[in-house]
Amino acid sequence: MTNVPTETHNTGTESGSGHGSVRKHIISFAIMILFTVIAFAMVGAGMSPTVVIPVILALAVIQVILQLWDFMHLNQKGHSFPTLFITSGALLGFIFVLVLVLWP
């Protein structure tokens, strides 16, 4: 491994076959678009907030998981640093929100 700055060269190194299939990416991308459409449609249709808010939150949670899993490569081996960073970020975010909810 040479340690030359390879900014202009590193396009392409990430798209190798080791990073999951294009099919899977397209499927989860489609799901995300679908979720977004559902969220907008529910608000647009004027449904009651008691229904809309929990459903949108649920959709959001699923989207986040899909994002992390499929697009941030958390489902793959050999990504220990990104995984470490994302989990500690999530932990900190959880603490911030918890405190903001408890003591606003």
């Binding site: 900014e7 202009t8 405190v99």
Partner: protein, 626 residues
Amino acid sequence: MAKPLEEVLSHHVHTVEAPHKRHWLLDYLSTVDHKKIGIMYVLIGVFYLLVGGVEALLMRIQLFVPNNQFVSYPTFNELFTMHGTNMIFFAAMPLIFGLVNLIMPVQIGARDVAFPFMNAVSLWFTFVGALLVNISWFFGPAPSAGWFAYTPIGLDKYTPGTGMDFYVIGLQIAGFGSLMGAINFIATILNMRAPGMTLLRMPLFTWTSLVTSGLIVFGFPPLTVGLFLYMFERLFGGHFFDATMGGNPLLWTHLFWIFGHPEVYIVVLPAFGMISEVVATFSRKRIFGYTSMVIATVLIGFIGFMVWVHHMFTVGLGAMANSIFAISTMLIGIPTGMKVFNWLFTMWGGQIRFKPPMMFALGFLPTFVIGGFTGVMLAAAPADFQYHGSYFVVAHFHYTLIGGVVFGFFAGLYYWFPKITGRMMSEVLGHINFWLMFIGFHLTFFPMHLAGLFGMPRRVPTYNPGMGLEIWNQLSTIGAFIMGVSMIVFAANVVYAFTKGKVAGADPWDARTLEWAVPSPIPEYNFAQTPLVRGLDPLWIAKEEGSTVPAAEPLGPIHMPSNSFLPLVMAVGLFIAGFAAIYHRLFFIVLGLEVIALAMFYHSLNDDEGHHILPEESTRVREVRA
């Protein structure tokens, strides 16, 4: 491993020629070299250190005698706001980013940071962000709601005029720069270490750079979000923080301190790293308890996120919140104490040489420890009701920020100056610089503890006579001017180094880490051959064997990225857009954003291969033979 020369050449024949020589100014404006970027960061930091210093001196003149009319009261608010903002965001941060840029890649045996282009973008964003905040002086009132911009006082209703708008937009832009810089440093440290440089062989300055970058990545987004809401509130009529419109002013306070407390560790951790390098070198000993130093750094980084409510003890969150955060705050003292003892044990039994960098490190230790003591006092929530909002707090954070960051930075600067410029500074002037600064500092800030305990609130433009506050304020003002003189001595020392300074060899301090294995000043490509690392302190290991650091690759062509003006262009675009947003000029907002978009578009489509430095280049051959 490097490819054979012929193979590389056959692929890149068209890019092999050396880049044509540019005028030095154009070269700096378009550079992507981490060393030149680092130098510009340091220059920005020193400039705003002086600006903030002048603001401080003006405040100290105003407070010299009771009921003084030297500056008007609104101007005093602007002075302390701009002083704090400049010192934290535009002095401390660029100084840190500058030294990390200059030294960290060389310490790990890399030839540049992971993303040289983005590095330049970070620099220019920081530059225009700082510029935007500071030109507010010329466009109506400067920001005046404190560096923490508490709501509701900072909202349009209570602080009209464009001052706080400059603060919000300028900090947002500089914040983008910091975030990108931190991501760059993390990628560099994790991916670009020389062969053999395992995580637990990294110098402590590199370790603290890594943890600080992590803190930026997690700490700046809350500020980004907060400033975003603030921008909507002030510029576009939103109501996130205005209680009279159903908003919550505490939301900003939380968001600010969720960022703000990690921020104080962002600036102090690299200073800890510099102290570690200096103490080890000038005690001629391996750092004591290396692994525990690493653990302490990571722990400080982690606990640093759990304590922000200690800035909010008096807002009324209740006994439960205050107790939890009081305890978490006191916990931070433990890893910090570990570090202090490790520095002491490193010196114990070492052959200490009292050179200027070591003097600053020695001045750092007791000063920072006093700041830590008062910090633990403040962390006792019931007692903090007495200290809060008083000069005692001002004394505390200057002991940590000047005693920690500024002394640490001066230690680092005196240490690495020969490496960066190739010249030695004067030792005599260095000692004068240190003693003036040390004495001036304690004379300025120790009396503030007492002024605070005797009832002087902070952020007040004056005080009444006959309350026993005169003497402490007068001592402080005298001390502040002594510190001012110490900065002049420092400037004189820089001039001395460039005119009469001895030429520094590669290793003037008999040091231990990789940056001292390359020539001073560091050549463009850092290492003619990537070094092979065989343990902590690779250069020391080599010196003990009476040899040099071994190479991990044969001499071959070195791939270098090309210069580009695009980072500067993008920053100018952002500056135009930000400035226009403050004055609600939609056309120019769009224009500025357009400039950025086009620049990014061009950069993505423009397939720039960079160029190669060939081994035949006479300087490299000479250097390798030497």
